[in-house]
Symmetry: D3
Subunit: 250 residues, 6 copies
């Protein structure tokens, strides 16, 4: 089975981390290809960057489709709370899995109410919106932020883990969560630390999405084309795919 994992930001470091997390979750025989957009933002901390990243991952898939080299059994969108899942689902017939949604679905299988712990306070709102539209808000106890930007996390991984674990503990004690979803991609070891120190299951979105992708592919199921994910009409577009118009090669 071949899974295309799309890191929506342009950071090669982050892409490597996401790829590692995806491979760690994949079972033998599952092949992970992890790509990032050819243009856009190195980190995604705003709605503007989120939209840019959605177009960036659309551009990756469009380029692959145009080249006739899209040969994957599932697509994982590895941005926690970012846009783009619905557009990708229009473009391909294989299942498209969003890591925020997958973390929520897996959490629902393990406990009664889950909390998400993300990076910056400003990321709470888009994650709440995403969970709400995905119908996952009913079992979400809270979305909390540890207050660290992506750059801070990179600069001090140990401190970041401690901050996230502390916030996870608050979610359990104050908000009644019994499962924690890690609300950012590419942080090795955090889920283990949460489980060890807070005593609740901790779900990593990339791992959850890879596992669910495998499950859905095993079931022989694909994206529904009977509703909103049907391909749209062939409206004329200029400069598309953008990477080709920008002269950015494969």
């Amino acid at each position: 089975m071949k899974i295309l994992v799309l890191n929506p930001n342009t950071s090669a470091t982050m892409t490597a981390e996401v790829a590692a997390a995806a491979r760690a979750a994949a079972r033998p025989g599952t092949e992970i290809t992890c790509l990032h957009p050819r243009f856009g933002a190195e980190a995604i901390d705003s709605a503007a960057e989120s939209y840019l990243s959605a177009v960036g991952v659309m551009d990756i898939v469009a380029t692959l489709l145009d080249a006739g080299t899209f040969a994957f059994d599932a697509v994982v969108l590895a941005g926690f709370g970012e846009h783009g899942r619905d557009a990708l689902a229009e473009m391909v017939t294989v299942p498209v899995l969003d890591i925020a949604e997958c973390a929520g679905h897996v959490a629902c299988l393990l406990g009664r109410r889950f909390s998400v712990v993300t990076t910056l306070e400003r990321s709470i709102a888009p994650i709440e919106d995403r969970l709400r539209l995905a119908g996952l808000d009913a079992r979400c106890a809270s979305v909390r932020a540890c207050g660290l930007a992506t750059a801070d996390v990179d600069a001090d991984p140990g401190g970041a883990v401690a901050a996230i674990v502390a916030e996870a503990a608050r979610a359990v004690t104050d908000d009644g969560a019994d499962v924690i979803c890690l609300g950012c991609a590419g942080m090795a070891g955090v889920t283990a630390a949460i489980s060890a120190k807070v005593g609740v299951p901790a779900v990593d979105g990339v791992a959850a999405a890879v596992a669910l992708a495998q499950a859905v592919v095993d079931l022989g199921l694909q994206t529904s084309k009977a509703g909103v994910y049907a391909p749209g009409p062939a409206n004329p577009r200029s400069h598309w795919p953008l990477s080709r118009a920008l002269g950015l090669g494969s």
Copy 2:
């Protein structure tokens, strides 16, 4: 990996069908054990039978635990809309998966809104309640009944498939569903018929639960014991396990 699949009614025929569906969904190396209660109802079409079945599956697990022969990586409760998942989750530490919830979660990965097609009109309400408490009602377009009791389905499988397909088509046209969940266990071939004739993905709960069980076990995750699924206090019980008190051997 070993998965215990619990058919909540006492029909050996139905248990064999559920086992077959579970095995068809399992990947190589996953071992399915399918059991039914030692007492209770042959079919479950009422709240009374649903509670009886919950105690019946609790009895199976209690007997295995008492005998020291509970050696499974996950438990699947194969009653669509029946009670008991939360009690089983209290009793064991491995993941416990309900087929109605799993069908809903998988459907959410494939489309925007799903409908459930079940047997009798009177089963609609408990399924609605189950989905609502599971937080899956937001994306549920409708729960519909094809009007056939379990016995009717057994007597005329071909007619049953046609009735279910017709109801699935109404769910898509009238209710805006783009995915169908099959709201009963043990009917071979129905999902294929729905996909072929209605043109939408169709999810079988037993298959979905087995696939999700494999996914969750792969992720190394277990039932949260930090909340409502913690084991309860050791209150004295009489005649428990009931099967032993009834003299029903292993």
Copy 3:
């Protein structure tokens, strides 16, 4: 008027307390019969015990019906947050009243938002679920636990009253409740203590259910048999009623 009050646990002490509370709320001419299951748990602090208790009260009613000695005008199910009401409503035509629901309905007549104060933290979730399915969550400010198990309450009634009063006061101050529902059965004097010390109406579920049973019987109304409470199909059951199969006499 004859009301059958069912204490879902098997504690004779608790049954006597529930009977006393029911009789204190009944008007002259109402006859209270209070029974407990012939098997099951002495106290109900888990989902497993709750399902067992549902089957236990079903067994009482089935035995009475089989013997032709069911001659009651209404049934009260005296477990706060326990399962079983819907199964009983299928089995009989007279009204079946659940004490958690009745406490909530009466509270709605007296104030704007009510809180429930129950025993253990782990009982909060099932009570929330029960209120939600009953449509009573919109006016429920909170469900709170005083932290005492049933056994603790028995061992130190005075301390239990103080703990419940303290939690009720927090519900009023912190959650905006203006009515308190006592979330457990059989505690004499607590509602008076809450009213005296917190200054809000306090509703006891058993008393509320008896009063509402009288009201509904006075109105000449019965359980609707046009929907989900219609009797189910006559599916074959083994070992039913369980008490007879267990050799437990009347």
Copy 4:
């Protein structure tokens, strides 16, 4: 026990019908006093008339309180969907019961989902609003109108009953209701006709409110004064009570 029943419109005929319905529901020893405002509208078919009626019933109670002749154990506000209950609850300490809310609460004790059948289409919205604020919308399947104004009902009672029964049947068939609430006051015989012809319990609001008033008074409970029903500050008012300013004697 003495219950004050307030018919919010000024029709003496309607007041007599409401009084008769209340007395029919009261048990021996309960004394019903039924009054209507000294000014206002003969029928209430608009928000303007509903506000006018709220002030009219406030005026009755204020006059009684001023004269020291308010000696009732409970107050019933007999307008289905009209305003005023909260104002009355501020003014007195005894329970105040609204017939729309009481019909809904009783319906919840009898079935899973209730529908209201009212007179004119334009009355649907205020009834929906009232049920929503009362937290009763979750179990309300629909509010339907039979299309007859109050005057039409008076002119052709037989035709009105037939129209209401037909609409009740649609609520059961099309909306899934299993209990019907009669959404207007003072129509003798309609609930019996609904039960007979549609086969579901039918709840009359006046009867339900009288029965619940008796239940709450039996329980020794009163309106909570810890929240929104506490008496307001003594702001100066001109021309109050209006009936005195208008020279309308007792």
Copy 5:
């Protein structure tokens, strides 16, 4: 453009303040007429006073209509959380704007979640109800009270501003609001103080309603008469308009 602004209490001082706020928000060419009821309460701090005020503003409009001197392009109801908007909308064809609703709609244009800061604790519930029926609760983070009655505000304007600013700051910090709506009418300078000290946009309801009235009139839109705001049937009313019956001249 001519806008009729209705202050629902009978305080001439407050009417002057509301008129000033309305005129400050009006653009050149918009003429503001500000009136208060001829009877009723000087301040509105209860449901009873709120209903009285609704009838008071209805009386103003009825008197103008009867006299043939209603010549306004829009009506603003300047009571924050008071009743009456729907009745006025039935009576006239021009747009009728409620200041609580308008403050909420404008707040939605500026941020993600707004809080209301009102006077007394007892005003929170009616404002919550009003916002809920207006569909504005989904984006309302909280309704908070500064604890001062209208009279207190008049006696110590500076202290009142400080109290309101402090409560607004708590709404931002504790409840996640990013816009504040001032939940009372006629307080000059408070919105400026909130913006300056709390750093969020602050919306005054009177100003918002005048601005939205101008917008709607500019668009050539009027109150819909196709639904609940259609004029009701001509039911007979006694003593109406009340002010004429009371001998209160124009």
Copy 6:
């Protein structure tokens, strides 16, 4: 006052129509500048095109800001159901108004429940999502499609008007709407036709947004920067603004 109106698709014809609608709604002294993206889709009928259009309008604003030529008092995003409003609100301090949200807010001022009539069936879901996140779903009776693509509308304007009017009539009759929002931009004369033939107010989103922009600017209010619309961290971006990287001049 200067308002920047952004047509999110790249059609010059549509841009001219939107500009005309905006100018028709603007009052004297308001200057409308209407622009469309330098790249993207000529029509927006899919999630992919919607994201592309969001980046397109972001690109316009970024280019203006970079050039120091952004001198507007408000921004209107003229895509009904398209993405991008939140990103623009991060980028500027002046108010940013979305036409779908503005149509909904204005509709709430005129009636009880509004319906949206849009073009293709596939546009219903994104509009529902947009209204839901905007908190406007509570008063939305339905979103309906007339079945015509944008190209169809252009080819046969008269037929399109008839189709939209017919769908609006269904929304009023079947869904209980009393106000209609036109769910697409740039169709002259449709609102007048709806009002004339269906008898309800009809709201055009572009006109509503211009009117509300004027109202908010008149009130001196700006986008809140205390929450999610604060500018994000300065994460490195490549090829931004895209139009510059693409060599597309001003």
